[in-house]
Amino acid sequence: MADNKDNNSGVIKGPGWILTKLEWLINWGRKRSPWPFPYGTACCGIEMMATLASGYDMARFGAERVSFSPRQADILLEAGTITKKMVPVLRRIYDQMAEPKWVIAMGACACSGGVFRSYSTLQGIDKVIPVDVYIPGCPPRPEGLLYGLLKIIERIEKDHPLYKEAMKFKESEGGRICNF
């Protein structure tokens, strides 16, 4: 990897020119194809389908193809109520997704449990998996979901995938052997 080589030579202390340009390129690619994994469990799922269909056409923002395999998805689009019995399934799907991954919690139930404040409903999916964007509403309008997707895209733009990797390497055993 380019960043590791740079770190070995000891020239670059921060994210240098090559690193930032490469990061820009990676982010440019990632933000234009955030494939969602549709996890519709309740009425929010219907609204999600409306967003994906031709009227609102989420494909305009790069979510071209909904990925029905978590291994090929970038965004876990969790739309609907999660019962406690379903928690292992949700965790498993999240764990199967390849890095980098983002999570959208769509609707009041996914954000906080919504009206179902009971023994059987998970009070927000952030109790079990990390969430990047919360979309309130019961259910949110398709515009809301598109806005949430744009927020994810903003987040991807500001990401530093290579610099993070370089820092991780620096703190690792191999990084400590090299003198900085």
Binding site: K84, K85, V87, P88, V89, R92, R117, Y119, S120
Partner: protein
């Protein structure tokens, strides 16, 4: 002949209590004779209650033990007399029956005490009772003797409590923390 009269004629001595409220007839029978009572209701020519539309459990704990309203002054003596009254059995199982022949509905009830939660299953009479009986087992812990597959219907198998009982907290006790996954 009215439905009430026909039910009385069909069940006879099995009836503990019978009442009608806004046209809904509720019959209470002994819990050890529920299979016999439902068999009679189903096979009777004039009734033919051949469709079990629902079966569910009930927990009357909060209903029976609700705090009494403050008595007016001077009624204190009367209140003291009421206190030693024995409470009726805590749980109920309710069977909702429909006759597809005459389009009439009725309700059959049994009362189940807390210390002996075993009831005969009616799956031999109505196949529709299998899932509702599993649900009643899941939610109240009422065991149905003779049920072919008495497992939890809604909660997961290792769930340690009966969530619709009135002494169970609404938001649960955090049982999901012990859930494991992966194999």
């Amino acid at each position: 002949m009215q439905l009430l009269e026909r039910i009385k004629g069909c069940l006879g001595g099995l009836i503990i209590d019978i009442s009608e409220f806004h046209g809904d007839i509720a019959v209470e029978v002994d819990r050890f004779k529920i299979v016999e009572a439902l068999t009679r209701l189903r096979d009777d020519e004039s009734l033919s209650m051949n469709f079990l539309s629902d079966l569910f459990g009930l927990d009357n704990k909060a209903f029976y033990e609700k705090p009494k309203k403050k008595a007016k002054k001077g009624d204190a003596e009367g209140e003291e007399e009421e206190k030693p009254k024995e409470l009726p059995p805590r749980f109920e199982v309710v069977y909702l029956l429909l006759s597809l022949k005459t389009n009439e509905r009725m309700m059959v009830k049994i009362r189940v005490p807390e210390d002996d939660l075993e009831v005969s299953s009616v799956t031999s009479l109505y196949k529709a009772a299998t899932w509702p009986e599993r649900e009643a087992f899941d939610m109240f812990g009422i065991r149905f003797k003779g049920h072919p597959n008495l497992k939890r219907l809604l909660m997961w198998d290792d769930f340690p409590a009966y969530p619709l009982r009135k002494d169970y907290p609404l938001e649960g006790r955090g049982e999901e923390r012990s859930l494991v996954y992966g194999d």
